[in-house]
């Protein structure tokens, strides 16, 4: 066999390719071959007829809030899972208590643990939200940005600066979001419904979606898409400051 690979995954069952087993050759971090006949590699892993798929992508994880269950209290949980959307607001308010204790150190420790847990379960891509407001300040963003850089090449983490408490309801949050972008956060989030009126919700979108040109990572949004939360021009991960995360929370 002329071709030699860095790593070969042998005897893989692949979706959409019938019953036959395939062999996957990897070179330079990329899939270089998928063949029905055996391949040779410096290292080989035997899939032994098991299903092989692309690894898992978690598009939404509040990584700054993991392992805070005991800190948030049962009351918050009950409000969120009570089945009534009306209580979502109550849940957010109760959960916000935790943020008064936000500190980069423990958030980083908790989040690191969850990335490990995730990796064990096949998660290699995470879009991670960090509350970025006057209560959470920049503690979550700092922790997750550090984590993102430490884990580069193993788990791809995209950090969303997310004004969970609202932009108009929480004066000062916008400034924290701006600073998060200057610190190289990847995405701006928003949560329009949390504002007091529909007009304020629109204002929230207008402020978060087309970020003012004076800040870094600007995104021109056309007038027609401007009013639609989360509508962003296509960009590809892992380009930094690449897109606009839509409403979340």
């Amino acid at each position: 066999m002329a071709d030699r690979y860095d790593l070969v995954v042998a005897n893989a069952r692949l979706r959409g390719r019938g019953e036959a087993l395939h062999h996957i050759g990897i070179r330079g971090g990329r899939i270089a071959a998928i063949e029905p006949s055996p391949l040779h590699g410096d290292a080989e892993l035997d899939a032994a007829g098991n299903l092989v798929t692309p690894s898992f992508v978690n598009a939404h994880l509040h990584l700054d809030k993991v392992y805070t269950f005991s800190m948030a209290g049962e009351e918050a949980l009950q409000a969120y899972t009570g089945g009534q959307m009306g209580q979502a607001m109550t849940a957010i308010e109760l959960a916000a208590r935790v943020k008064d204790r936000y500190e980069e150190g423990w958030i980083h420790r908790h989040a690191h643990r969850v990335l490990l847990d995730g990796l064990k379960h096949g998660v290699t891509h995470v879009q991670a939200f960090a509350d970025t407001d006057t209560r959470g300040r920049l503690e979550g963003v700092k922790a997750l940005l550090r984590l993102r850089d430490e884990w580069r090449g193993v788990v791809d983490v995209r950090v969303v600066a997310f004004p969970q408490e609202g932009v108009l309801r929480d004066p000062g949050a916008e400034d924290y979001v701006r600073r998060a972008l200057e610190m190289d956060a990847d995405v701006v989030g928003g949560i329009p419904w949390i504002e007091h009126t529909d007009r304020d919700a629109q204002e929230h979108v207008d402020r978060m979606l087309p970020w003012p040109a004076s800040s870094t990572g600007t995104w021109p949004c056309s007038p027609t898409t401007r009013a639609i939360p989360g509508c962003a021009p296509p960009k590809c991960w892992p380009r930094r400051r690449s897109g606009r995360g839509g409403p979340g929370g």
């Binding site: 996957i24 971090g29 899939i31 898992f56 590809c236």
Partner: protein
């Protein structure tokens, strides 16, 4: 993209359909509330999310399970616009060797993958063995 979007569950059908039309036109995508159960535990285990979704949504045919598996792989990557993703020659090598030879076999026990490969490197390996003692012989 819109995340959670839980209020949509309360919208009257005609309003909901009108909204979906608008969303389509705008090219928006959704990340729905994951079915992590009321305790929000194990939010890192996406196969368990699939398992729970299969039950809560009543999805059990091969085709339906395929769709659910797509939601934590290809579809999620599409929503996040992850470059270079997918099991094809030329793409970045982000792979999992799962436990089970069919989607149903994988989802039912939803064990951790045997191997996890990221950027072409082995980054996680799980072996699980149970040893029985003092069991009756058949």
């Amino acid at each position: 993209m819109a995340c959670h979007a839980r209020a949509m569950g309360l919208y009257p059908e005609p309003y909901f359909r009108r909204l979906i039309g608008l969303v389509r036109r705008a090219g928006m995508s959704f990340v729905t509330d994951p079915h992590t159960g009321p305790l929000h535990l194990r939010v890192w285990d996406l196969l368990e999310v699939v398992f729970l979704a299969a039950h809560s949504l009543g999805r059990s045919t091969t085709r339906e399970l395929d769709v659910l598996l797509d939601m934590i792989t290809a579809q999620a990557a599409r929503v996040l616009r992850v470059a270079d993703y997918g099991l094809e020659v030329g793409r970045a090598a982000h792979l999992v060797v799962l436990e089970g030879s069919t989607v149903l076999d994988v989802i039912t026990p939803h064990r951790p993958p045997r191997y996890v490969i990221s950027h072409g490197r082995l980054v996680a390996q799980t072996t699980g063995t149970t040893t029985f003692h003092a069991i009756p012989t058949p």
